[in-house]
Amino acid sequence: MSTTEAPASTGTNGNGASGYRWVGTRPVRHDGLDKVAGKARYAADLNLPGMLHGHILRSPHPHARIVSIDTTKAAAMPGVKAVITGADFPEAPPKGATRNLMCTVIARDKVLYSGHAVAAVAASTRREAKAAAEAIEVTYEQLPHVLNIADAMADGAPVIHDNLLTRGVDPRPTEPSNVAARTVYERGDVEQGFGEADIVIEREFSTQAVHQGYIEPHACVVDCDQEGKAVIWASSQGHFMVRSSTATVLGWDTSRIKVIPAEIGGGFGGKTTIYIEPVAALLSTKAGRPVKIVMSREDVFRATGPAPGSIIKMKVGARNDGTITTAKAWLAYENGAFQGIAAMLGCMCVVSAYTLDHLYVEGFDVVLNRPVNVAYRAPSAPAAAFAMDSVVDEIAARLGMDPIDLRLHNCPSQGDPTPYGPKWPMIGLRDCLEAIRDSDHYQTALPDGQGRGVATGFWFNIGEASSATVNLNENGTATVITGSPDIGGSRASMALMAAEELGLDVHLIQPVVGDTEVVGFTDVTEGSRATFATGMAVVEACRDLKTQLRKRAAKTWDCDVEEVEWVDGSAVHGPGEQEPLTLAAITGNAKRTGGPLGATASLNARGAGPAFSVQVADVSVDSETGRVTVERYTTAQDAGTAIHPSYVEGQMQGGVVQGIGWALNEEYIYSDDGNLENPGFLDYRIPVASDLPMIETVIVEVPNPSHPYGVRGVGEVGIVPPLPVLANAVADATGVRISDLPLSPPRVLDALTAAES
């Protein structure tokens, strides 16, 4: 805790030079009142008449063959209406993403982690369902398990999938292993680069698995009818994903399923997949009643998420003038029980904030007996940045250079090649570095006894498919319907972009998240895409509407549409022979000029602008307890254009604090027998208000030329720098560099003690 009075927000408001009327302003969000009044409905808040409660039985073993499941006793218990096991679901294909999804929802022949779903019950009350689930008799044949990367990659390790042959190795192995894939990116000649370097630093780093930690456990209500139709109310990052994934797992046609998005109580990537909806659907089908499933917090920790742990070996060479020329990286990421792409993403990110002549990056995706990885805010990038920016910090110290000057000296610009192939488009890394260098924080002398760290972060951002429908109402208001759930204020951003386009007061626009039957297909909210891509669809629909509005005015005035302009929410007659017609005047007369006005846009958004963040922290370290206290923290991030600056700051601050948790405290702790030992918020300690200072923000705006308002996604990159920022700050404060996260009190104390002796 640094102060007793809150400093003024340092957040800039992008609205200054832009000339926009609405974009860059900070209206109260449209869904806000319901959320402060306790009226907003999240998935667990819905109850239907006749509704049953579902409970899922989970494996107590990390790796075991299911010999038999006897549900006789459970089915006869009070209140029980349906019991299902893996045998009630369609057979899964032998391998691939479909198998991984199907077998995550419910185990088939084997359980692959403690917490793996095995069977489920629907009963009249929660307690009856739980009691019956616990009465299901499962006979397991336990198998040897692997819980960490080193054990999983070792010769002779127990193999989890007997048909998993490593991709990316030539020739492809003929024997299965736990290495799902090998990824390589290279450029130049690293041996030559190291030979020519004045300074070479080589270090090994490790990070632990962490959970996304959304406060709302997964929940759904599913109502299946006798015609085979299902209505699903669920909290997710994309209800079209819930529809397609549920259909895949059940072998149903998607047209049988309607998904109504509940409010979502946090996701951070963790709700880009499903766990419980097909289970509830099958129970509902069997019982002929609606079924609700709400996960316990323990189940959330044991069976959903997490983000992977990693081991990264990093070797970097530089010249005495501070030019970083060469990097060699070896990365291994946990994938959980099924293969993913964590290491591939880590390989793409690890040196992205630097220009390099010579580069060799090799990554390994490793399966083990833990729940399968799910995306968590800029997945894989934080661990990669931890490795690279820790080494870069050491280089700066060895060369006696300011760490920001060193990074500016090696900063890529538009047209430089990315480590993974294409050239950089317009990016704001340099601007972020300069923003931190020039910040009040960086310009203020470090208080005695504290340490300061800086680091950078990169994330790709993505576009994907989005749809929007904009309807103009007869009174001159507008309804904006999109298919992107509102995780953190996106309704307000959609309304602001529509307001800007139409020239309509943002308070006259009602943004709505539509269900799968009222709005066009929209991909899951991931890759910081909602405001970018779905916003682009809103803008396109509004531009279509402006053309329609001009035509209506032309019809009213009996003139050529080319003579009509749309200015500040009104049709204006170019030659000036007519009084302007407001939007409300046109919609009020719409029945007489051609009918109601509405427009829909569906698109694949291209050109998501890459995101960069640069951050600085001051910390103090208690030499008696090893506790690290964050005294001051400032983050600069390129938002392209901040549509609603308050929620851009919120994304920046939230990402930083999740990164602080990852760096300082959070970790999955497994016992040797493969059970998670800290599946609750008491022992899995996420940051609380008293752990933190204010998080000062500087919004940098380097507009993305591919978006009509210059938007870049802002949701993810903020979580990337805190890991190296805090490691670098602790090294500065103590003179001891710790390369294994988290920097929890026992680990810091051990490192300090070891350094003394």
Binding site: D31, G38, R297, G650, V656, G680, S690
Partner: protein, 159 residues
């Protein structure tokens, strides 16, 4: 199954409900009374999403057996606003963008009310410690703390 009849006062209204033995007050509020503002984030008293004020004290309603509420006076998030006006905390949370997903918001509002009822002029440090039992994973707490401090000013100096 035996059910207990419980009578209490919630947000100024006399209410009664039937509850199973061992049921939490949180479930009774949500399922029997339809007050969905209090949320279950953990069920073990670690996250504060189910915060209520019972007989003047801030409590996690997931840790209270429903029959223990007999005769008690309870305030939930739904009881903060009047018919025509939001509570200053609610208004400041809206204007200060102190919520993102909103799942923790009712609990924070209740915890903040409990603080300001006791201490109308808290420091930033006091706000941070008073809210340390409430988890928010979205905001990093910055805008929540600022909004509580701003609401304290507004309550002390009404317009």
């Amino acid at each position: 199954m035996s059910r207990t009849h419980v009578t209490c006062e919630v947000n100024g209204d006399a209410v009664d409900f039937l509850t199973e033995d061992g049921e939490s007050l949180l479930n009774a509020l949500r399922d029997e009374l339809g007050l969905i503002g209090a949320k279950e984030g953990c069920g073990t008293g670690d996250c504060g999403a189910c915060s209520i004020i019972m007989n003047g004290r801030l409590q996690c309603s997931c840790l209270i057996f429903a029959p223990e509420a007999g005769g008690a006076a309870i305030t939930t998030c739904e009881g903060l606003a009047s018919a025509d006006e939001l509570h200053p905390l609610q208004q400041c949370f809206l204007e200060g963008a102190a919520l993102q997903c909103g799942i923790c918001t009712p609990g924070f509002l209740i915890a903040a009310k409990a603080l300001l009822d006791e201490n109308p002029d808290p420091t930033e440090t006091e706000v941070r410690y008073a809210l340390a039992g409430n988890l928010c994973r979205c905001t990093g707490y910055d805008k929540i703390v600022r909004s509580v401090l701003e609401a304290a000013v507004q309550i002390r100096t009404p317009a």
